[in-house]
Assembly symmetry: C2
Homo-oligomer: 416 residues x 2
């Protein structure tokens, strides 16, 4: 395979035009970390400036009339465009960590007497820590399943671990580490049959992989908006609560944004009979509004086109790994089957930290490093080109051949 083949793939790319929706002012840089922080959509620049100047600056407190339900409005838009959720079930609120805390606590309250929380050892750190905290506070056990080959947590292994003692199953749809896709409908169904509730983390799948929360029978889900949804650094997260559960659960943080008549400022907490009961405090408007623009950009292409391209991009990574990098000691740490893999590919290597740093500093390629030994390559179907993949893999093999990565300080520093 040569570079011309990658160029042909770009020419044939049905959503190649989507790249122009983003600010890309350093075209020599190959960005393969959109699964950590997505790029800035052009429309966001104007939207933030308008909210700041025409909204906050000019209309002052009156601008809140437009923003008061913004978390629910943007949640509905996200639910419709990318999550397969009918209106009134998705809201933007807080961070993923806080949302997981709220929903997991609500689920545990609804399953008294059961003493196990089931998760996985490769679940994202904040998920494991939040669950560990809930388990510690309630005297429960956090039981971690270990992924099998290709990083998969199979539905069968979850079923085998489910019993009458399990209150909650909390897993990621797409593993941040391996990119493996969990079988959400099967695991959710199994949890329900066993009398447990499942809460899904969609951080690494929302905007990259088709999601059908309603059709899959999902009860609870959370996810972030700053990866494939391109909503900006630390943009607030989303949560999903199936409609028929909304009034049967109660989240623990009884803030005024969850109050039924918020501005009556009445004496007692009376939670909203809607998804609003899962809100807590005042939402950060300037960070929240970009979610709308981020979702709109992806909706222009549609999730099926994005998914097709993501598969083609990761297949190209896998083909080039096999040809160039497997012989150099890289191990594929993601499922080989593209239908079982999200939009990123993980390559394990003993020197992964130094290799990642050398890619950034010497090859103008931005991957990310995930401890202990993973170089994570995260193309984003909305703006990554096939030639970007070809060039990045080519630069990576050259770094290995010249051993340029050995000049990097082996002490892992802070990498986001």
């Amino acid at each position: 395979m040569n570079r011309a083949e990658a160029e042909r793939l770009d020419q044939q790319d049905a959503i190649g035009w989507l790249r122009d929706r983003f600010v890309i002012d350093d075209p020599g840089l190959i960005y393969l970390d959109g699964n950590s922080l997505g790029r800035l959509p052009r429309a966001t620049v104007a939207a933030v400036e308008e909210a700041m100047c025409a909204g906050w600056g000019n209309r002052l407190v009156r601008a809140w009339h437009d923003w008061i339900d913004v978390g629910q409005r943007v949640g509905d838009r996200l639910g419709d465009a990318l999550l397969g959720a009918a209106p009134g079930q998705v809201a933007i609120s807080d961070s993923t960590s806080v949302n997981l805390y709220k929903l997991a606590a609500a689920a545990l309250d609804a399953r008294p007497g059961r003493r196990v929380i089931l998760s996985s050892s490769d679940n994202f750190p904040t998920d494991r820590y939040v669950l560990e905290g809930l388990a510690a506070a309630r005297g429960l056990e956090l039981r971690l399943l270990h992924p099998g080959s290709g990083g998969m947590i199979g539905a069968e292994s979850v079923k085998a671990a489910l019993g009458l003692d399990v209150a909650l199953v909390s897993l990621s749809h797409v593993s941040y580490l391996s990119s493996a896709i969990a079988d959400v409908p099967a695991i959710t169904r199994a949890a329900r049959i066993a009398g447990a509730l499942a809460v899904w983390d969609l951080c690494h799948s929302a905007g990259a992989v088709p999601i059908e929360l309603d059709a899959w029978g999902v009860d609870l889900a959370v996810g972030c908006t700053y990866k494939y949804l391109n909503a900006g650094p630390g943009a607030p997260a989303f949560l999903y609560v199936r409609r028929n559960l909304q009034t049967r659960l109660r989240q623990p943080i009884w803030g005024w944004w969850g109050q039924r008549e918020q501005f009556a400022m009445g004496p007692a907490y009376d939670p909203a009979r809607s998804i609003a009961r899962y809100l807590a405090g005042t939402p950060p408007v300037l960070s929240l509004l970009p979610i709308q623009a981020g979702v709109d950009v992806l909706a222009e292409a549609g999730i099926d086109s994005l998914r097709s391209k993501a598969i083609a991009l990761t297949e190209l990574i896998v083909r080039l790994w096999e040809a160039w990098l497997e012989p150099l000691g890289f191990v594929l740490a993601s499922p080989r089957d593209p239908t079982r893999r999200g939009a990123h590919v993980s390559l394990a290597h003993p020197d992964a930290y130094r290799v990642s740093q050398a890619l950034i500093k010497e090859a103008r390629v931005i991957p990310d490093f995930r401890p202990p030994n993973v170089v994570r390559l995260g193309p984003a179907p909305a703006y990554t080109r096939f030639v970007d993949i070809w060039d990045a893999m080519d630069r990576l093999r050259n770094l290995m051949k010249t051993r340029a990565y050995e000049r990097v300080d082996p002490e892992p520093g802070r990498v986001t």
Copy 2:
């Protein structure tokens, strides 16, 4: 008193120049709701655009190297400039509601066996609701003190309510409803003597009233940044934990931003030995950065100058109320003594909702309405002029004389 006297006060105003630091593009509008949403500082426009375009857009994930500790850096700046807190004790994080939940839960865990949470019936709604939720989850009692004349919660009444059953005292420094200032050092000391912890809500005092958290012996505090700190709609909140308590308490939401080695992504939660342990998830950068600009603007003037002007502004309101509005049925619902009052003045009137709406719609004055019967006038010493007060009060008396407010729909709608 005539308008010329107000003009003279403006000419003599030592910090009148500060108004130019803000975007004010509708000078005919009199804004007396800076205690709900403060104005947009000019410097913020450039700071947000830089973070969005040069940071997020251009540097992409690498920009996180500048932002990774932004919540602590901006917290230190806020603590130094306006809260009387030495470095390492203030962090920006989440919303006030979530921060109160975290600190109150941590305090309750540290006082096992005690079954009462003490607050006040005029504490801000979200505070009461959050405490009610914690009490419900733990089988505790939320006991509410009722304010006395002028809306005061006196230290003596708190002392009388303190006993060996009280785990936590949670009050506001400045009452959102009455503007009354609580005696933070005396109440904190009394709580400590009784073996309880006190957590203070500084939402309505930060940036308006001198605060000396370290010198006052405060243990725990939270507050918002979008009122007098002018950080923008829903900008994230702050929290303060006295240094010697930081490792003795543990907050309930064990998110990865509270983890000691966050990016090691290790198997178990190991909380930071610093204020960082009170963080949870990824902070919303575009909403957080404006806090720095908002604090910097106030620091230019200094809190003592701001406080002097706030007293002069509220004294002018009280004088004009006495001359013009008391005869028309308005009752002063704030302390008469300016040293016991924050930067806003509350006037009670049976038609307060309609009066507030008429001020907005017919007189181009923005106050806010607080149920059941309060028109809240919130000048901000950073940008409100004495003539603004004179004009607003003049327009208010004219509205009353012409009974223009009677044309407003009496059904209270959403008012923020």
